[in-house]
């Protein structure tokens, strides 16, 4: 997988940080057929996603194939200030993994 699939918008407001996260990923479910060959396209999807802030886990998700293409997640966590860094780690079912960072605005 190409690097940098996550698009993150994190905004500190009051004592909370609102995070909107989108991953650019096909989330192939393994249920679709290739139109030419009639064979099933193997599943390829994100399995795990973890968001850390200042060494503390603030959000984690285990995903199945029924999460839509280009998965989107929104959540809030307490704390966080402008300029803080969020560290996101994702794992694909193929075993591919990557860690990306984003700044809180």
């Amino acid at each position: 997988m190409a690097k940098g699939i996550l698009k993150v918008k994190a905004k500190a407001s009051g004592d909370k940080t609102k995070v909107k996260l989108m991953a650019k990923h096909i989330m192939e479910s393994g249920q679709r057929k290739d139109k030419k060959t009639g064979e099933l396209i193997p599943a390829k999807f994100l399995q795990e996603l973890k968001v850390m802030h200042g060494g503390k886990e603030v959000f984690a998700a285990n995903l199945g194939t029924a999460v839509s293409k280009n998965p989107y997640f929104a959540f809030n966590f307490a704390g966080g200030a402008k300029g803080d860094e969020l560290t996101m780690t994702w794992v694909e079912n193929s075993g591919a993994t990557s860690t990306e960072t984003a700044k809180v605005k």
Partner: protein, 152 residues
């Protein structure tokens, strides 16, 4: 006593290991991806594998989803709970080939309020299960799908 213990140990080492692992796994390794739960083909099995039991309906769990989803490939869903001590929130779509959609871990300090988008093959009941203080609570909603998101 010693013989008894030995036989117990043996039993665990042999066939019991599998059962033991599947029962203990979700509790010990909360964040681990549980293949059994995600690949289960009916909702009750998936729920059992993931959370270790069935959930009871609760008014303190809010599931926000559209009444009619025009496109089953992208159904926006929000799960919210007013309860304290929420540990995880999971989403199930009963009529999907694999009902378990996702499980979200809610560490302390994070609001029990998560939005996401999911795929639905056809009209189905969508269930959100919230685990709070070791107990399971749920809310469901029927979502009509006019164009399915699986198959293509």
């Amino acid at each position: 006593m010693s013989m008894n213990r030995r036989s117990v140990v043996k039993a665990i080492a042999a066939g019991g290991a599998l059962v033991g692992a599947s029962v203990l796994m979700p509790r010990i390794a909360m964040a681990a991806w549980t293949t059994k739960a995600f690949e289960a083909e009916d909702q009750a099995t998936a729920m059992n594998e993931l959370l270790g039991g069935a959930a009871e309906e609760s008014a303190e769990v809010t599931l926000k989803a559209p009444d009619i989803a025009e496109n089953g490939a992208v159904v926006p869903v929000t799960v919210r709970s007013s309860m304290a001590g929420v540990e995880s929130m999971s989403i199930f779509v009963e009529n999907n080939p694999n009902p378990l959609v996702a499980e979200f871990m809610i560490p302390a300090g994070t609001d029990a309020d998560v939005s996401t988008r999911l795929r639905m093959g056809k009209t189905s009941k969508v269930t959100a299960v919230v685990k709070a203080n070791g107990k399971l609570y749920s809310a469901s909603k029927e979502v009509k799908v006019t164009i399915g998101g699986c198959g293509g």
